[in-house]
């Protein structure tokens, strides 16, 4: 473990990033990524996630501080050497040319080929392997603009993968993806990490990041915090991450909750279990606290006629056939 800390693949020292002189987005940034580590960069829109990622791989100039890649200052690498150390997947998806999947992924071999870009057998097999890996092996001749968001993102990642760099940097790779595609993509990146690569990616999805990342970088109030997801959990940073917006972090279930204002509390009883759970989440969505001994009560039941909900409060009793009508009623009452 100490080995990991002494030889980071990338180390940022007192880095300042931003676009205008004297107006840094982030400054005094000290971070590192060890070999075979997966780091998720978390932060709200406009806090400088993309800027940080671009600055640390040399796409944007640093305002201050230094970046060491594999022990040597970033600027000491020529572009080709740098391209052999770090690959990048942009968050920009517009303006991609309509070239074929195979042509696109092959571009990833550029830093390793000669001036004519001639491909050896090894290059070709790497490309086909990567395409198999991302399950796009049967899409070789498909054009990029004929792919779904998930397929296109996997192809972009395959391109970065064949660049065969110890570090991969990805800017919001899971944006635009549905849940299965999101998990598939994270699984893919975790696989690369298990194969020894270091991965840095930015995301808004704290839940998946907490499931797979070795380390989080959390941008919060102009500061950047570094640590294992659980360390940051203990520090309580998640609770205050979105503190201005009525969103709080529920440590018990480790996810964010929207709790703008509590409208009251309701006791919930009955069966079956799953109907109870769903009713509970509906109440949460509507801003009610589920609590035993509350003045209002909801009794859930199930018979051959279907589910039923009986709400008793203020000495009135109302019954509902589905959660939707229950919810409409509660909203009207308030």
């Amino acid at each position: 473990m100490t080995d990991m800390q002494t030889n980071p693949i990338i180390a940022l020292e007192n880095l300042a990033i931003g676009y205008e002189k004297g107006n840094a987005l982030l400054s005094g940034v000290n971070l590192s990524v060890g070999p075979g580590e997966m780091v998720a960069l978390i932060g709200r829109n406009g806090t400088g996630k993309s800027t940080l990622l671009k600055s640390m791989i040399g796409l944007l100039p640093m305002m201050d501080g230094a970046c060491y890649m594999d022990g040597a200052p970033l600027h000491s690498y020529d572009l080709r050497k740098r391209a052999q150390k770090v690959s990048y997947v942009s968050s920009q998806v517009s303006q991609l040319p309509s070239i074929s999947v195979l042509e696109l992924v092959t571009l990833g071999r550029m830093p390793h080929t000669g001036w004519m870009g001639r491909l050896e057998e090894q290059d070709r097999s790497m490309v086909t392997q990567a395409l198999e890996e991302v399950q796009m092996g049967s899409f070789l001749n498909r054009k990029l603009d004929q792919l779904s968001d998930g397929e296109r993102q996997r192809v972009m990642i395959a391109r970065a993968f064949v660049q065969n760099t110890p570090l991969m940097v990805l800017d919001e790779p899971t944006a635009f993806l549905d849940i299965p595609n999101k998990y598939e993509l994270i699984r893919l990146l975790s696989g690369f990490r298990d194969g020894g690569k270091s991965i840095v990616y930015s995301t808004h999805d704290l839940e998946t990041a907490m499931m797979c990342a070795d380390k989080l970088w959390v941008i919060h109030r102009g500061q950047i915090l570094e640590g294992a997801p659980e360390d940051l959990g203990i520090s309580g940073v998640f609770n205050s991450l979105f503190d201005t917006t009525g969103i709080t972090f529920d440590e018990e279930v480790r996810r964010f909750k929207y709790t703008e204002s509590l409208k009251g509390s309701i006791e919930l009883s009955g069966e079956p279990e799953n109907a109870l759970n769903w009713t509970g989440s509906a109440l949460e969505r509507l801003g009610y606290d589920v609590k035993d001994g509350a003045d209002s009560r909801i009794q859930v039941s199930y018979s051959e006629q279907g589910y039923g909900w009986i709400l008793s409060h203020n000495k009135h009793t109302n019954s509902f056939e589905n959660i939707y009508s229950l919810a409409r009623f509660l909203i009207k009452e308030n």
Binding site: I57, G58, L59, L79, R80, R82, A83, Q84, V86, S87, Y88, S90, Q92, Q95, L96, P97, S98, I99, S100, E103, L104, L107, G108, M110, P111, T113, W115, M116, G117, K143, Q163
Partner: protein
């Protein structure tokens, strides 16, 4: 069929077509020279009369050579511009180079006074200087400005500005001078002979060869400059080399032949459609070859076989280019690679 085999097959067919068109191009004209005579002549035997020889060596072969050079070079510039700016409408003229050449030509022709007669040499030198001036301005700008789209907009502004100045000059010029200038601006492949042709050849061939050194880089640029940098491409240097090549190629051709419209934009699209490839290793030679075929064909059409009249080449290339682009855009959008 494997895509590579297909590409070589199409290239072979294009070469055959080019040879056939080239022979036809030499044969056309008021003085009769048969195919057999041309072939014998090209193989070194003496079958031609004095008059035929002069016509062949002083007029028809130089015109063919000019068509081949311009036909290869303008579309290559267009391809490079389309890839660099990632814009299917970019072409050799977007940088304002040809407007610079026109400005130089206008200064000489319209300034020549009532006769409007100017030696081709003066015209070519002036046009070349005009193009060079714009090129220097452009290179200066591209050292300063990071964003390639800004450069594109500036190029278009240079063009429009120079066009405005030229129209003012035209407004105040004498009728005869105005006519010579208008004729120059319609383009001609027939005015380049002797030393001029040599100069043009030496300006164009090395740069066409140079463009082959940038095949890999052009491929890398397809994903945009940001990705290109992360794949090891020195973007500033690449941009300057591409601007300089395009400027010299376009400037030289415009100086000697006048503006030749549309093949710079249309031919790369034709090549993409024919070869169904976006790999510049295929696309660049394909574009050169297609361009030569198209310009030689345009030259044949411009001579209106069977008549004594000759159409301006600029009009012919446009009339060929426009329907092709429209067809590609509307009917065959999927085959477009940009």
């Amino acid at each position: 069929m494997k895509i590579q085999t297909r590409s070589f097959l199409i290239m072979g067919l294009l070469v055959l077509l080019l040879v056939a068109l080239a022979l036809l191009d030499i044969r056309l004209g008021s003085v009769r020279i048969t195919f057999a005579e041309i072939i014998h002549h090209l193989r070194g035997s003496e079958h031609l009369s004095e008059q035929q020889l002069i016509i062949l060596n002083k007029f028809r072969l130089p015109r063919l050579a000019t068509a081949l050079l311009a036909g290869a070079a303008l579309p290559v510039c267009g391809l490079q511009m389309q890839t660099l700016f990632r814009n299917p409408l970019a072409g050799p003229y977007v940088l304002g180079i040809s407007s610079g050449a026109s400005f130089g030509a206008a200064l000489v022709v319209l300034g020549a006074g009532a006769t409007g007669i100017v030696a081709t040499w003066n015209l070519a030198v002036a046009a070349w200087l005009g193009a060079g001036m714009v090129m220097l301005l452009l290179l200066f700008v591209s050292f300063r400005i990071k964003d390639v789209m800004t450069i594109l907009i500036l190029g278009i502004m240079f063009s429009s500005g120079l066009a405005a100045v030229i129209s003012i000059m035209q407004f105040f010029s004498q009728a005869a001078a105005l006519k010579s200038f208008v004729i120059w601006s319609m383009g001609s492949l027939g005015n380049v002979t002797g030393l001029q042709l040599q100069i043009m050849t030496w300006a164009i061939l090395p740069l066409l060869l140079l463009s082959f050194l940038y095949l890999k880089v052009l491929n890398g640029l397809m994903l945009g400059e940001e990705y290109a940098v992360t794949m090891g491409i020195r973007i500033q240097r690449t941009r300057i080399v591409i601007f300089a090549t395009t400027s010299i190629l376009t400037g030289t051709i415009t100086a000697f032949c006048g503006p030749i419209g549309f093949i710079g934009i249309a031919v790369p699209h034709m090549a993409r459609f024919l070869f169904r490839q976006s790999d510049h290793k295929i696309l660049l030679p394909a574009t050169m070859l297609t361009g030569m075929v198209v310009l030689v064909l345009s030259d044949i059409i411009s001579q209106m076989p069977g008549t004594e009249r000759v159409l301006p080449i600029n009009a012919v290339t446009s009339l060929i280019g426009i329907p092709v682009v429209i067809w590609l855009v509307i009917i065959n959008r999927k085959s477009q690679s940009l």
